[in-house]
Structures are given as structure tokens and as C-alpha cells.
Amino acid sequence: DQQVKQNSPSLSVQEGRISILNCDYTNSMFDYFLWYKKYPAEGPTFLISISSIKDKNEDGRFTVFLNKSAKHLSLHIVPSQPGDSAVYFCAVYRTGNQFYFGTGTSLTVIP
């Protein structure tokens, strides 16, 4: 039973443009929402997070948006750079419980 869904397995974007990665979740009880980035042959690394009491969190080129009513999470990368090419996983967390991850979206930024 998939708690988190990333419906786009891949995304290609031109360098300098905006990348938008999307994620949907099923349970309104989750407290925190996170994005992880994964390069080939490496473990996922934390990128950015947002708590359920906020609807936006920004860190440099990365912004995460949370729409609780729609149970939808998105990551915006502006401007996109070739080094951003990686697999992005969204994750959800409920305090005291485990993390659930999506299936990942492979982002390719074309120079």
C-alpha cells in the first residue's frame, strides 16, 4: 500500500529553467515532508523539508510547497543546473513513526 506516490518517473528540463517535481500522499496525519536527492551509486541525501504547519519553505534555489487539502507536495528548482540531475525522492513522516518514500523522479537538466 503506497503511502507516497511520485507519478512522474522522469523529467527533462533545460538549464536555467524551472524544474517542478510532484508528490502525492495518502494520510493527512503526516507531520513532516521531505525531499531527498540521490546520485548514482550513492545513498540519498537530505535536500529540504517542510512541516505540516507551513505551506512553503525556501532554501536557495530550492522551494518546497505543501498543499495539505490536496495532500500534495512539490519541489521547485530555479534556476535548474546540470548538477541537479539526479533522482529525487519525496518522503513523509509522522512523529514517532517511520519515513515513507516515493518511487522517485529522475531529473535530467540539459545544458
Binding site: Q6, D31, Y32, L34, Y36, A41, E42, G43, P44, T45, F46, S49, I50, S51, N57, F89, A91, Y93, T95, G96, Q98, F99, Y100, F101, G102, T103, G104
Partner: protein, 117 residues
């Protein structure tokens, strides 16, 4: 530079053999997770421990998989007997505390790449 350490990094084994993967969590972290990455399921949670006690292993095939934490510095994931469908990348991750606040997260190892032939 604190990091989660996993061994082996790569393992090729024959079907039916026992496989043991090891994880050293970041010192001081009391929560340890085992995930498996597959193309279809993404990062599947297999098991997790808090203060060395198993909290949830419902994602793990019980007949062949087992996870333990013999001490606070070592977590193990064992497959016996292994099957070709177990071929995947297995990640260990660790974190601290029972709560999560903005900026806190879990940290992943580099993964153990398992191929069962």
C-alpha cells in the same frame, strides 16, 4: 565527518546462499532503518529500530529476511536463503530522537548492492 557505514558495498551470490549486510549508524543516533531500492517500489522500508528494539518489520519477508541490532553500533540484515528477486540495493539509514523538526532528518549509507544469480 559522521556517516552511516554499510558493508559490503557489492555482493554477488548464488541463489540459496546466506547474505548478511551490516550497518554502522552514526554515533549517537538511536533510530536505524533498512530500506530496499527497486525500480518499481522506490525505497521500500523493510524494518526499523529505535534504541535497538525492533519497531516495525512488516515490510520484510519474514520467511527469509531477518534484522537485528546486536549493539548500538551495529545493525544487520540477513537473507537466508537468497533468491534472484532479492537483487536490489539495500540502504541503511540512521537518525536521532523520536521527534523530527525542521532541518532534522535521517542519514543514509551508500548502500549494499546485492546480486543473486
Amino acid at each position: 565527518d559522521a556517516r552511516v557505514t554499510q558493508t559490503p558495498r557489492h555482493k554477488v551470490t548464488e541463489m540459496g546462499q546466506e547474505v548478511t549486510m551490516r550497518c554502522q549508524p552514526i554515533l549517537g543516533h538511536n533510530t536505524v532503518f533498512w530500506y530496499r531500492q527497486t525500480m518499481m517500489q522506490g525505497l521500500e522500508l523493510l524494518a526499523y529500530f529505535r534504541n535497538r528494539a525492533p519497531l516495525d518489520d512488516s515490510g520484510m519477508p519474514k520467511d527469509r529476511f531477518s534484522a537485528e541490532m546486536p549493539d548500538a553500533t551495529l545493525a544487520t540484515l540477513k537473507i537466508q536463503p537468497s533468491e534472484p528477486r532479492d537483487s536490489a540495493v539495500y540502504f541503511c539509514a540512521s537518525g536521532s530522537g523520536t521527534g523530527l523538526h525542521s532541518g532534522n532528518t535521517i542519514y543514509f549509507g551508500e548502500g549494499s548492492w546485492l546480486t543473486v544469480v
